[in-house]
Structures are given as C-alpha cells and as structure tokens.
Amino acid sequence: MKLVLEGSHAVSEAVRLAKVQVVSAYPITPQTHIVEALSEYCSDGTMNARFLCVESEHSAMAAVIGASSAGVRTFTATSSQGLALMHELLHWTSAARLPIVMAEVNRALAPGWNIWMDQTDSLAQRDTGWIQLYCEDGQEVFDTTLQAYRLAETVNLPVMVVLDAFFLSHTFEPVDIPDQELVDRFLPPFSPRIALDTSDPFAMGQMAPPNVYMEMRHDIQKAMEQVSGIFTKIEEEFTQIFGRAYGMVEKVFCDDAQIIMITTGTAASTCRKVIFDLRSQGEKVGMLKLKMFRPFPTDLIRKHLGHVQKIAVIDRNFSFGASGIFAQEIRAALCNNHDHPPVFGYITGLGGRDVTPEILTEIYWKTKNCDAPTDESVWVGLVD
C-alpha cells in the first residue's frame, strides 16, 4: 500500500516490518522521528520489541551490541555528534561481527551548530568496518533498510543506512509499504550463527594476541569482499518480490558520456534533471549515483568510469587538509588503471546549503571547460 510518509518514517516502517526485537537509541535532530515512531510501536504493542532508553549514543550502541550478541535482530539510529560519540563502538560492532543495522541521518558537525545536511559525519566513520549505503528517496531508504538486514545477517557485518537530513528525513513522499507477509518472504527471522546462551555459557571478544589478531582483521576484509556478490543476489530476490532494484551504483546515460558526474543521496535526484536538460542541449553527460560506499565498489567504478574523458565528483563533505571524500575514493579506485580520466572534485552543499540545478550545471561547464583539474577540490558557491 502506498502511504505518504516522511523519509524518517519510511525507515521506522521498515524496522517494524523487519520484526526487530531490540531498539535502543538516543534522540538527536534530525534522527528523532525515526525512533520516536519506533518507541510508540514498542509501547503500544505494534512491535513485539524492547525499546531501551539510554543516556547517550555510546550507550545506545552498547545496548544493541549486547542484544545482538544475544542473537536478536536490533536497530539503532543516530546523526552527527551522536555518531561521533558512537565511534569506539562502531569498531567493536564490526570486529565482533554483529549484524546491527543503523539508520544514520547525514547532518553537519559542530561548531557552529548546524542540524542540516552534510555527509562528513558518516564518511568520517569509513574505516570502522561498517557497510555504508546512501539513499536517494523515501522508497529507497525503506527498501534499503530491509535489504540491510538480509545483508548484515548474511555476512555478519553491521550496515549503516544513510539518508540526508531534512531533504530526505523530513520530506513526505509516496512510499510503497508492503504487507508483512511479503516482507517475511524476503526477510526470514534472524538465525544467528553465534549467540550468547546462558545454558551454554561462553565468552566473546576476549584477548586476541598477535598470532591471531591479524587473521581476524583479514577475515573482516574477506567478508567485505564478498558483500558485492551477496548484495547483488539479495537484490535479485528483492526485485522478484517487490519489483524494485537500485544497484550498488546506478548509471544514468553513462554509456556514451564524455563527462560523468558522481552524486550521492538526494543530490542525485537534482542531478537527474540537470543531466536531462544538458542532454537535450546535446551535451554528452552522464551521472553515476554511488549507493554503496563501503565496501567501495572499485570494480564498478573502474568499469563504468575508466574510459570517460572527465569525471566530476560532487562532495557534500570534506576531509580537511585533503579533499572531498568521495573524490578521494574515486581517485584511489582509478589510479592503478592505466590512462584513467582526470577527477574533478567539487565541494558544495555543506551544512544544509541547497545543491541546486544551477550549481550542478555550473559544475558541468567548469569541468567541460577545463582540460585538467587545477585543484583537488573546487568549492562551488562560496560567498565572499
């Protein structure tokens, strides 16, 4: 059934239909609506789940780590400072191989205080061993949350479902919310490979000396390397049931494009219009929407971008002293390819500033009119 929902509630509905058993979260704008709805579902019996109130995001993650270790399906959500506070436990989650799913609403970090869209919070957690999936609209964030459980529980790695503050979290759109029965067909009850059991006690996560630690870390990477294959299979099953698919990356007019713009999140929607407009003017432009950031889809990047003339990466984030983070990753993916195209990095839309069609059009023309990048990053739309 199609409902008009805000992006936050699309997540809540997916969590409800995923029959999550333990939710723990600490409220932070713009994440609050997600867990607000879940706390009501937990208290009114809509969900047969425990909602654990905690005093911080660090504790929220600790609580779902405990619950997940005991073998139940868990959920948490956060944003910005909250995610930063969780940092220590993000490492723990992946190294303990716990299939926790978290919604992360992209919000700028303080100071100055800013509650609006910015990707630096989630991208700063790229080395914590979490799978990261960036979503474009309400339907995608609903579908991705369901897929995230299948993926996490298959590879025993945690998944972060990332959505833009306000542009997605607080925007109402029609979202198809399927029946429980259909969701159950796609997502069976969680059957953990390891779970704490009081009748057969054992300890987890204890000392790992030098002779095993490195192998454990390598094992996480091996699991990460299997993600793309498994994600594809899971999405095939998803498509069979629900008729929708997104891919780890989505290419739009890429096949004959000379310049490809790389976007993520809601900016991809704006970019679609820009591409259409430019195409109608005869420009050979394409767009690659990056949905999966971890594991980084290096093969797909090489395949789709290896032979274009120029690449323009739109980053709503920044790594100080370096460049936009998506641009860094694209460059890294391509650098061992012989004769790879130049990567133009553009910084725009930080702290909730709109990424308008005009800005994206400007980026296109800048890229077209430059033979090679003059800087690692060009900041677009700065006010003097």
């Binding site: 299948r150 059957s191 996560g205 454990m216």
Partner: protein
C-alpha cells in the same frame, strides 16, 4: 525461504571466543578502590536533640514494620506523641529533601508513630539491663525528670520521682495549652513510663530539709525541677499584671473563665504565644507586645504564624514602661523601640528607645510572660566548681551521693525535646560513673554521639546496631537525586480558624496510615540501606552477592569501579582507597 541465511556457510567468521569460564580471571586484582557498605548519619537524626534514628524509623514505617518503628523511636525518646506535637522539629530544617521540593514531614510522622504506639499499645520489648539494685531519686516529674527515670530504668535502675503537683508532666501537663497538647496524650506516654521501674510520687515538694532526710536512701539525685517562677519586668504597677505561667496553669486546671475586653500579653517566647492564643480562644481581643522585632521572637516560628492567623495582633518594638489603673481598666504605657546594631552573642538586633514615641494600651487584663527561672531555691553547683562536670544538657557532681542537674536548669535551648535529651544524658553519665568512674564519663558520652552531637543515642550506649553507623552526616551532594522525583509534602488536616477559636480542641490531626505511607515514601532514608538492591543490579562484575538477606561484595571480582556506590541513591555505601 530458508531460515538459514543462504551464504552463511561461505562467509568465514573468525572471532575470539572461549568456553573456558572467565571465573579464572579474578578481576578483583585490578582494584585500587574498594566499595563498602557504610551506613552514615542522616542530618535529621543529628539535628534531633533526642538523636532519634529518623531515617530508619521512616524506612520501617514505609515497610509497614510499625512495631520495629515504635521500638526504634522509643529507644531514644519516651515521648514521641508529645514531641510529634510540641517539638520545634529542627530535623525538618536540615532535611536533604528540601533541595528537591519540601522537607519530609518528620514532625507529623513522629506523631503518627507515637499515636499508633498508644492506640495499639506497642511498647519497647526491652532487652533491659538486669536490675542493679541501685535506686535514684529524681526531683520533678517534668519531661527531663521523666526521661531520666525512663532511661535509668532501661539501664537497670529503680527510680523515685518526686513531684510537687497533683499530677506528673510538668510543663507538658500544666504549661502547654490543650489545643497544642491534649491531656490524654501526656497521660498515655507517662503511663508507659510508669510501667518501667519508675515510681512517681506526687504532691511531694522537695525542700532542702526533705532532701536531707532522704539523702541516705538513694544512690544518686537528679534535679530537674524546671523554670517555674516567672521573671519580673521591674516597672511601676507590675503587681497589676498577671503571671503567664500561672495563667496557663489555671487554664489547665479549668479555673479560667471566658472574658471579653481587650488583653495585652507582654513577651515574645513560647509561653507568651501560648497565653495569647489561649486568650483568643476565650473570646478575648488580644495584643501581644514585644520589645524587639517580630522576627527576633524566641518563640517557634510556626507558633507565631498561627497566632497571627488566629487574630492575635502583634506589636513589635514596644517596651512596657508602666501600668496604672483607670476606671476599672488598666493602661499599659509603652515606649517605642528601634534597632541599633546587632547583639553579637545571639544574632538578633539590639534595641534602644526611639526618642519619646509612646503608646498607651487600654486593656482589662495584662499578662506577662518574659521568661522564667527556677522556682525553688536550690544550691546550684557553680559551673566553676572543679568537682562538677558540665555537659551539653546536664551537670554532674561526684558528691556522695552523686548529684545531677538537668532540664531547663542546664539547657541552653529550653524545649521539651532538649529536656528529654537532658534526662538521657544524665542517665548515661550516671551509669558510666557507677561502672567506670568519673574520669570515663566524657569519653564514653562522646562515643555515643549521633553525628557530631550533641545528641546522644541510647541504642549506641546499650551496644545496639546503631553503633556501627558512621558519624559522617549525609549531605545533599551525597544523595543521587536521579532516583527521586518531586512529590508534594503530605499536609495534616487543620481545624479552620472559626473552629479553632471556639474551643481548645487540637488544631492538627494525626496522619492516617495512608498519609503516613505516602509521606514516608518521600524520605530519602539518608545513609541507610533500605535494600533497594541497586548495588547488586548495577554491578557489572556480578560481584555483589545476596546472602541470607544481606548484601556482600565479592572482592575476588570487584574491580572497584564504584558503580554500586554511585548508584546507591542514599549514600549507604562508600568507596575507599585500597590499602
């Protein structure tokens, strides 16, 4: 669909996992701080002149353990019903709960317990000391003498109390009006004292001669005859004024009849307020004249407020100059006073005449209550006498036989509860003297202080559980306020003003059981373990164990993180450096 994730078998999952018990890892070796159960002293109990174990009494009441609550209170105070009515409750002033909302209604709860003890005939099932064959003579059956007898009998002594009047009780029976303290309450609590080895002999004034005659029949003497004689104003026409104590006395004897016509009461102490409020009840328009400011009055604040409510008009800063008769009425001439600097010793403003401003009150009756002194001529031992030991609430002279003075004769604060404290201190001092000698009295008394004193605990003196209580007083910062929520203080029902003025009926009613239950829930139980179990629930090492109803710390595993101490809402635990 399968319930087993399809790709599970292919994904390797190499994590650290062990089936060996972690008990081998004695995490206690990491510890450098050690938690311990360390019950401390609640501020209320340290402020109580009688040293009642209030935090514990409220806890027991809240648990419905009324017999235990009554016993706990009677260990320290034979007069809970009386004190629950007339004590000035310094306990409430220091209550930690005041920082959250309002102090616990300790005063009303004491009355509830006291009345329940009377109604249900609950008494102390005393593990009395065996009778030791010693008999003590007590002069005066007021609160200090009765308390001395009560506590001495707990310690194995027999006591004869000589009382000049026809009934025991002193100020309780003769000096406090019925609307504050009904007769039956006093009688019931004295009745309970009579059931111990205390013998009260009324209608027997003790003169110096009588004292000589009986000197050899007793092993010691306690003099607690109180302040029965009023102070004089030393102004012309003073003989036309009536004495306040005498007025209250006649009132209690039923010898005062209603009168119209305005009256003036001179004084600012409790007796003056009692007189004024009694007059109002007799239908008399009453003006209270006080030479200092209203806020300097030594009377209890509550009482002054109630006098205000009941229509006593208070003239502050007027000092009586002269009384003369005029056409069957009296004219009271008053000098206007003004403040002039502070009196350093008592913290109130010094007053001096304000030029020539005068006022004249025309009244039918003038009653003076400006203070009192001992009514009988006693040879009081000089405080400078090297033989005499002076304590906070009594003096002790090791004559043969030993002689002790107490009650109003020695107390700085002249209150009923201080009089009880005096009886207790005297009983303990005497017992220490007989058992260990004069030199041991001071140290031994000090070992029984509640908190920093001066209140003493008979339970401690008799070797009870309270001995292990840390004298450290629980401060507001020691309370974990996260565990307490604002709750309105339970108010006892009050007679409305019109009904008050028609009779001498008691103004306040005693809490119902439900009210008491609700109010005891508000008590933080500062410093006392009430078995909330937070320490055990929160211990991350499961190192708090429950054995036979008692909590213990398993030091093999306790890492000394201090969570148990932090989560203890009431500071019944402490964290100490490991030695």
């Amino acid at each position: 669909m399968t319930t087993q994730p399809k790709h599970a078998e292919k994904i390797s999952l190499f994590i650290s996992r062990s089936n060996i018990s972690t008990e081998i890892n004695k995490t206690g070796t990491w510890r450098f701080m050690r938690p311990k159960y360390n019950e401390k002293t609640a501020p209320c109990s340290a402020a109580c002149p009688a040293g009642e174990d209030i935090a514990r009494i409220e806890m027991l009441s809240n648990q419905g353990r009324y017999q235990d609550a009554v016993e706990t209170i009677l260990l320290e105070n034979p007069f809970p019903s009386v004190c629950g009515r007339v004590c000035f409750h310094p306990c409430e002033t220091v209550c930690n709960r005041a920082r959250l909302d309002d102090p616990v209604a300790i005063h009303a709860l004491e009355r509830f317990i006291g009345d329940m003890a009377i109604k249900d005939e609950l008494t102390l099932k005393l593990k009395n000391s065996p009778e030791n064959g010693k008999t003590i003579c007590i002069v005066g059956a007021g609160p200090s003498g009765l308390a001395a007898g009560y506590f001495l009998s707990q310690l194995g002594y027999s006591c004869d109390i000589y009382e000049a009047r026809s009934e025991p009780g002193g100020i309780l029976r003769w000096g406090i009006p019925r609307y504050r303290l009904p007769d039956d309450v006093v009688a019931s609590e004295i009745e309970r004292i009579k059931k111990t080895s205390v013998n009260i002999i009324c209608n027997t004034p003790v003169t110096q001669k009588f004292l000589q005659d009986i000197k050899n029949r007793y092993h010691a003497f306690f003099i607690g005859c109180g302040h029965g004689r009023s102070l004089k104003m030393n102004i012309p026409g003073e003989n036309m004024a009536f004495d306040g104590l005498e007025f209250l006395n006649l009132l209690r004897m039923g010898k005062v009849s209603p009168s119209n016509g305005p009256a003036a009461v001179i004084g600012g102490g409790n007796t003056a307020i009692d007189v004024a409020r009694s007059l109002v009840r007799l239908g008399t328009t009453t003006t209270l004249v006080y030479r200092r400011r209203k806020k300097d009055m030594p009377a209890f604040k509550d009482e002054v407020e109630k006098a205000d409510e009941e229509g006593v008009s208070i003239m502050e800063l007027y000092s009586p100059l002269e009384i003369h008769e005029d056409d069957g009425e009296y004219v009271l001439s008053l000098q206007r006073m003004k403040t002039s600097g502070m009196e350093t010793d008592r913290g109130r403003a010094r007053v001096v005449p304000d030029s020539r401003i005068m006022q004249h009150l025309r009244v039918r009756k003038i009653i003076v209550a400006i203070g009192a002194e001992p009514s009988t001529l006693w040879q009081f031992p000089s405080r400078k006498n090297a033989e005499t030991l002076c304590f906070s609430h009594c003096t002790f002279t090791a004559s043969k036989p030993p002689l002790l003075f107490g009650g109003d004769l020695t107390n700085t604060t002249k209150s009923v509860t201080d009089a009880i404290a005096s009886g207790k201190q005297a009983a303990m001092a005497l017992d220490i003297f007989f058992k260990q000698g004069r030199h041991a009295i001071a140290d031994c008394l000090n070992s029984c202080l509640v908190g920093n004193g001066p209140a003493l605990s008979m339970e401690c003196y008799m070797g009870g559980n309270r001995l292990i209580r840390n004298p450290q007083i629980v401060s507001n910062d020691d309370i974990n306020l996260d565990y307490f929520f604002r709750m309105p203080r339970v108010q006892s029902e009050l007679l409305d003003i019109s009904n008050r003025l028609n009779s001498f009926d008691e103004i306040e009613s005693t809490f119902s059981t439900n009210q008491a239950m609700e109010e005891t829930r508000r008590c933080f139980n500062c410093g006392i373990c009430n078995a909330c179990d937070n320490c055990r629930i929160f211990c991350p090492e499961i190192a708090v164990i429950l054995q036979g109803g008692k909590r213990k710390i398993n030091l093999d595993y306790c890492k000394g993180c201090g969570i148990c101490v932090f989560e203890c809402p009431r500071s019944a635990m402490s964290l100490e450096e490991e030695l």
